[in-house]
């Protein structure tokens, strides 16, 4: 199944009934029926996770004609797609819209950070019975990644709202690079040998540690021989080449400054590009500070000459990432997603900010086989709810798996053997995102 894909024509054909009404099962059955090959292009995924809930109205779904309390204090600009406008802080993104697809009709009932993050990052609404794995962890457990670099990396860290691995083994948890990639002295901690140690000593330690655990495994049948975490750490430490992936100093200063230096998101995106270039299948860039209950204007500018506020920094980082990937011939292989846990209230509140609003929000996607230059779905004129093509986080997650060439019906197993689908049963693939 992994190497099959439904053709765009088939998708449109089925989509004719209702562009989003296609159940997962139908689509996959159809695929099997036609024997259409799935050349899912995306080998890797870079997720820009905007933690806190980014405002759809100040980003990808501005409402210039709405009353001022909805429109908000910022302007909007025309983009390279006729009739499609973005917030005024996105001039660079506006120029590359032929590579970008906006999804303006995401909808969820969960307006709390933790719940929203769970839903968007796992495709499942959170339940006390089971913690589901995030997309990156599921990818890490499915893709038998032969590389030495960890398969699931978070820059600089993963969101605090969930562990990431859920019921999967902790080894699939996102590896946090830590620190701040824009600092000149940035490096991943503990990659260099401790004073006085060398590769030979580490090798012996690994051998002896395995000896201890093997003795344990002889008497404890629940105990595995060998420690896979130790193996992974050892392999990474003994490969200079793998370790150099984290060295941003290898990039030219032009490239570094084009990604932007004022907010960590710029250099984080650059590091993400270096990692997927080296075969890492899933990288999350975690950007915090999007929970704008107060003064929404600070997203644009925090003081008079500020050009490193959230929105301009995102515009620079995202647009540079897309063009950089394109220039290097990596865009077709790399799915880039911009999303957060929900949108913001259509009406500006008394503190000049916007509160949580899950009923409609927007995402941007590019690369990885997603046909660019589209706007999928829309919200109503006041940005309150989906006007057409509502899609749920489950649908989004199922579509991401599909784009990555992974069957969303694939079953993972909990520690007690319970089979769980990657995406819930009722998830529907957003066919227009699959080129």
């Amino acid at each position: 199944m992994r190497n099959q894909r439904i053709s765009r024509r088939d998708a449109i054909c089925i989509g004719g009934i209702t562009s989003l009404g296609l159940g997962l099962t139908d689509l996959l059955d159809l695929r099997r029926l036609h024997g259409v090959s799935n050349n899912a292009r995306a080998k890797s995924c870079i997720l820009l996770w905007l933690e806190g809930g980014p405002s759809h109205l100040e980003m990808f779904d501005p409402k210039p004609d709405a009353p001022v309390e909805v429109r908000g204090p910022m302007d909007s600009i025309q983009t390279s797609l006729p009739g499609v406008r973005l917030n005024e802080c996105f001039p660079l993104t506006a120029n590359i819209m032929e590579d970008v697809t906006l999804l303006r009709s995401a909808t969820s009932p969960l307006g709390e950070h933790n719940f929203g993050a769970h839903y968007l990052l796992t495709g499942y609404k959170p339940t006390p019975a089971l913690e589901y794995p995030s997309i990156g962890s599921a990818v890490a457990s499915i893709r038998k990644n032969p590389g030495i670099l960890p398969p699931n990396i978070a820059i600089p860290r993963f969101t605090n709202n969930l562990s990431g691995n859920g019921f999967l083994p902790p080894s699939t948890q996102p590896f946090a690079v830590g620190g701040n990639p824009q600092r000149p002295d940035f490096k991943v901690q503990d990659l260099n040998f401790f004073n006085g140690l060398d590769g030979t000593r580490l090798q012996r330690r690994r051998k002896l540690a395995n000896a201890f655990d093997s003795f344990t495994a002889e008497t404890d049948k629940a105990s595995n021989v060998g420690n896979p975490d130790l193996e992974r750490a050892y392999n990474l430490l003994s490969s200079e080449q793998a370790k150099s992936a984290f060295n941003l100093a290898e990039e030219s200063s032009e490239i570094r400054s084009s990604y932007g230096m004022g907010d960590p998101i710029g250099q984080s995106c650059l590091l993400a590009r270096r990692l997927i270039q080296r075969g890492v299948p899933f990288v999350t860039v975690n950007s915090s500070g999007w929970d704008t209950h107060n003064n929404i204007q600070t997203l644009k500018k925090r003081y008079a000459t500020d050009r490193n506020a959230k929105l301009p920094s995102l515009d620079r980082a995202f647009s540079t990432l897309i063009s950089d990937l394109k220039r290097q011939g990596l865009l077709d292989d790399t799915l880039v997603i911009v999303m957060g846990e929900f949108g913001r209230t259509p009406k500006i509140n008394s503190n000049g900010g916007r509160d949580h609003w899950p009923r409609v929000f927007s995402l941007a996607m590019a690369g990885g086989g997603v046909p660019g230059g589209q706007v999928i779905g829309s919200s109503n004129p006041l940005g309150e709810f989906p006007q057409d093509n509502p899609v749920t986080p489950s649908d989004i997650v199922a579509t991401i798996y599909t784009l990555l060439g992974i069957d969303p019906k694939h079953e993972l197993h909990t520690s007690d053997g319970r089979p769980v689908r990657l995406a819930p049963d009722n998830a529907e693939i957003i066919t227009s995102l699959i080129g």
Partner: protein
């Protein structure tokens, strides 16, 4: 629980919806609450995915699972110009035509016009479509409550009975909704009240009728075992009442328990559980060589009486109470911690402990327990904290709506918040009678109320008194259970109810009777923590080995073996310091300060961060995920935590080498320090063979460093087992 005459289980079919089974009730007309709402629930009309959604569906909104029948009645009888109900022509009512799909319905055909559901609705409208509910549902009972089967794929019928406040009962099997927590484990059918396990193990099915939910357990043996094999409970060691139910369950599940833990295993485990430390090498030697048949019992007693016990359990209590100087202030934290310590040292009754916290008043810089109110910043947060702490219940779901899977209502939540709103949370904790908490549904100050109870409190001087009285009353069903369940988890590795702060009707205990017995025993012995800990540690279940057999390795909740639990971050850090023989420095604290002694859970320490400590900003009940295992191992390999002290000046290794101790004896010493045991012969031979490879002392010393490093990263060291 009431018991039912057998014939009740017989043909429920003939009892469906008929009234003859209720003595004296045949004259009752159908009413909305008791007769119509169940039809809507059964058909799924008021589910979250249909009209029960917060925004309704297709312009028609019902309350989730019929939680608010008044507003549902409103929607059906009065909204849409009353077109949903047609009294002059009942057959034309939309409420009938839609679900039977005589006109287009997005949700499809839910029942036929001839069905009982349709007929009920029709009769109700013909009778005048009244809300009129003289019957008030008190609770439901399900029979059987617990289904034990010796193999899968056997269907079992359930009978659900509604109990009304006037004493009447009615069979409501037909109208109850069964939901399997996991359909791949237990199948339920929409049509029949039947459950069928299809996967081995213990599974939960939730039964809902109107506002009432009940969970039933469906249990089959964990592993496929020929039917003739029996594991009689009487053959399993039984030290005290704790073992009785555990052994019974093992018999039912056909789980042959693992054998008794060795003295070494028991020693290390009980030391870690009661004092958060590893035993000293000298003590280990004398304990292992002692022939006293009573030595385990004596050890438990002496550890419970030790200052190390007080220190460790004060740390655990500080975790529980989320003590952090960041929110309390330095001076307050000291006062609070001293108070905690004095309680743990004196083993004061937990009832008094809770009462003192809840009723605390005065200057929080001097009066420690007053800081209970300074851990949170408002009445709602305090409601959630208090309910998790003392009721073991996550009340927070009831902030926004009645809990769909539990009995807690929004009124319970905001009623308790209204009590705490009467507390001024300043430095001086005092009662402010003007304080209110707004109920989101009414937008008015919430009525003071004790959770789960109908009694509304008047504005007495200090409304907390009534809450404390209710909470700590001997017959309070939550308090003692929630507390002993925590003690159980802290020693046995998993709560009988897990997670420990998620007591819920739909999350039953693995061993319900044991939980009751433990709680009763705790109450009978003055709510003494030490008493209950001693009971647990003395049980045969506690004293089983953690080494699992092929047979027990899948068991993680029936105690056929002891569970292997990762060391708590602070305990782990201290154990490393003790084995290496050199303490770690924590900020400006004097050398020798142990991690469990740190008052401030954010004291700068990369080791504690790497080990995944709890920062007490929320509940510490479940181990925090912490950094990924890769980060941990990278730090073990290249960080300071282990490398900085393996053979540093003053370390155990350097001292032993300086004393001229033979390498093979050094290895033995480390086994005793880290594992509380001697190496086996096979292990000794392995290490001797390794040592023979070295001719120079410096090479050999480096090897010993590597030996110690590997020991410190081994599975048997980093877990309690």
């Amino acid at each position: 629980m009431p018991t039912f005459p057998k014939f009740y289980i017989l043909s429920t079919f003939f009892l469906l919806g008929s009234w003859v089974d209720i003595p004296g009730s045949s004259a009752l007309a159908l009413d909305f609450v008791n007769d119509i709402v169940p039809v809507l629930t059964k058909a799924g009309c008021n589910a979250g995915s249909c009209h029960g959604a917060a925004i309704g569906r297709g312009g028609f909104k019902l309350s989730l699972y019929g939680g608010d029948p008044k507003s549902d009645f409103e929607s059906i009888v009065y909204q849409l110009q009353g077109r949903r109900i047609n009294k002059s022509n009942p057959q034309d009512s939309l409420i009938l035509r839609k679900p039977t799909e005589q006109i287009s319905h997005e949700g499809g055909t839910l029942f036929d016009l001839n069905s009982e559901s349709a007929q009920r609705i029709l009769t109700w409208i013909q009778d005048g479509a009244t809300f009129n509910s003289s019957l008030e549902l008190a609770n439901i009972s399900v029979s059987p409550e617990r289904i034990l089967l010796d193999r899968t794929n056997i269907p079992v019928d359930l009978t659900i009975t509604a109990h009304y406040s006037n004493g009447l009962t009615r069979d409501v099997t037909r109208w109850s909704v069964l939901t399997s927590e996991d359909e791949t484990a237990v199948q339920t059918s929409k049509e029949n009240p039947t459950v069928k396990p299809i996967r081995n193990g213990r599974h939960i099915v939730t039964v809902r009728y109107l506002t009432q939910v009940k969970a039933i357990e469906v249990i089959t043996p964990l592993v496929d075992i020929p039917a003739e094999i029996q594991i009689p409970a009487t053959k399993i060691p039984n030290h005290n009442f704790i073992d009785s139910e555990i052994n019974q369950t093992l018999e039912i599940l056909k789980l042959q328990p693992a054998g008794q833990a060795s003295d070494s295993e028991f020693l290390r485990r009980v030391y870690l559980d009661l004092t958060g430390r590893l035993p000293a090498v000298s003590f280990t030697k004398s304990f292992l060589s002692s022939n006293d048949p009573n030595k385990r019992h004596a050890l438990i007693r002496s550890l419970l009486a030790s200052p190390e016990y007080t220190e460790f359990w004060s740390y655990r209590f500080a975790n529980l109470l989320r003590l952090r100087p960041q929110s309390l202030g330095e001076e307050n934290s000291e006062a609070y911690f001293q108070w905690i310590q004095s309680h743990v040292a004196a083993d004061t009754s937990i009832k008094d402990f809770a009462r003192t916290l809840i009723l605390a008043k005065g200057d929080s810089r001097i009066n420690g327990p007053a800081n209970f109110y300074r851990t949170t910043t408002d009445a709602r947060q305090h409601t959630e904290f208090t309910s998790e702490l003392f009721l073991g219940t996550r009340l927070r779901c009831a902030n926004c709506h009645n809990h769909p899977l539990d009995k807690w209502t929004q009124d319970d939540y905001h009623g308790l918040a209204a009590i705490f709103a009467k507390v001024d949370l300043g430095e001086e904790i005092r009662i402010k009678l003007e304080g209110t908490s707004i109920h989101p549904r009414t937008s008015a100050p919430a009525v003071l109320r004790i959770p789960g109870s109908e009694i509304n409190l008047s504005n007495s001087d200090d409304p907390r008194i009534e809450f404390a009285n209710w909470l700590t009353a001997e017959d309070n069903p939550y308090f003692a259970r929630a507390f002993v369940n925590r003690l159980w988890k802290l020693t046995m590795g998993r709560g009988l109810v897990a997670p420990v702060d998620d007591f819920r009707d739909t999350n039953p205990a693995t061993h319900p009777e044991l939980l009751t017995l433990l709680a009763d025993d705790f109450v009978d012995h003055g709510y003494s923590v030490r008493h209950t800990l001693a009971r647990i540690c003395e049980s045969a279940a506690y004293q089983r080995t953690a080494r699992s057999t092929e047979h027990t390795k899948h068991d993680n909740m029936y105690y056929s073996r002891a569970l292997r639990v990762p060391l708590d971050a602070a305990v782990h850090a201290d154990a490393v310091s003790d084995v290496l023989g050199l303490p770690e420095r924590y900020g400006e604290h004097p050398p020798g300060t142990r991690a469990i002694q740190l008052l401030n859970p954010l004291t700068s320490s990369r080791s504690l961060d790497i080990l995944g400590r709890c920062d007490r900003s929320g509940s510490c009940d479940d181990p925090t995920a912490g950094p990924s295992p890769l980060s941990k191992l990278l730090h073990f390999f290249n960080g300071d935590f282990l490398n900085g002290r393996l053979n540093a000046s003053g370390s155990r290794l350097q001292n032993l080498l300086a004393e001229g101790v033979q390498p093979k004896d050094i290895i033995k010493e480390y086994y005793l320090a880290a594992y509380s045991r001697f190496p086996t012969q096979k292990e000794s031979e392995f290490w001797l063979a390794e040592l023979h490879k070295f001719d120079t002392n410096s090479n050999r010393d480096q090897f010993l460093e590597d030996f110690v490093w590997s020991l410190m990263t081994s599975r048997d060291f980093i877990t309690n087992h």
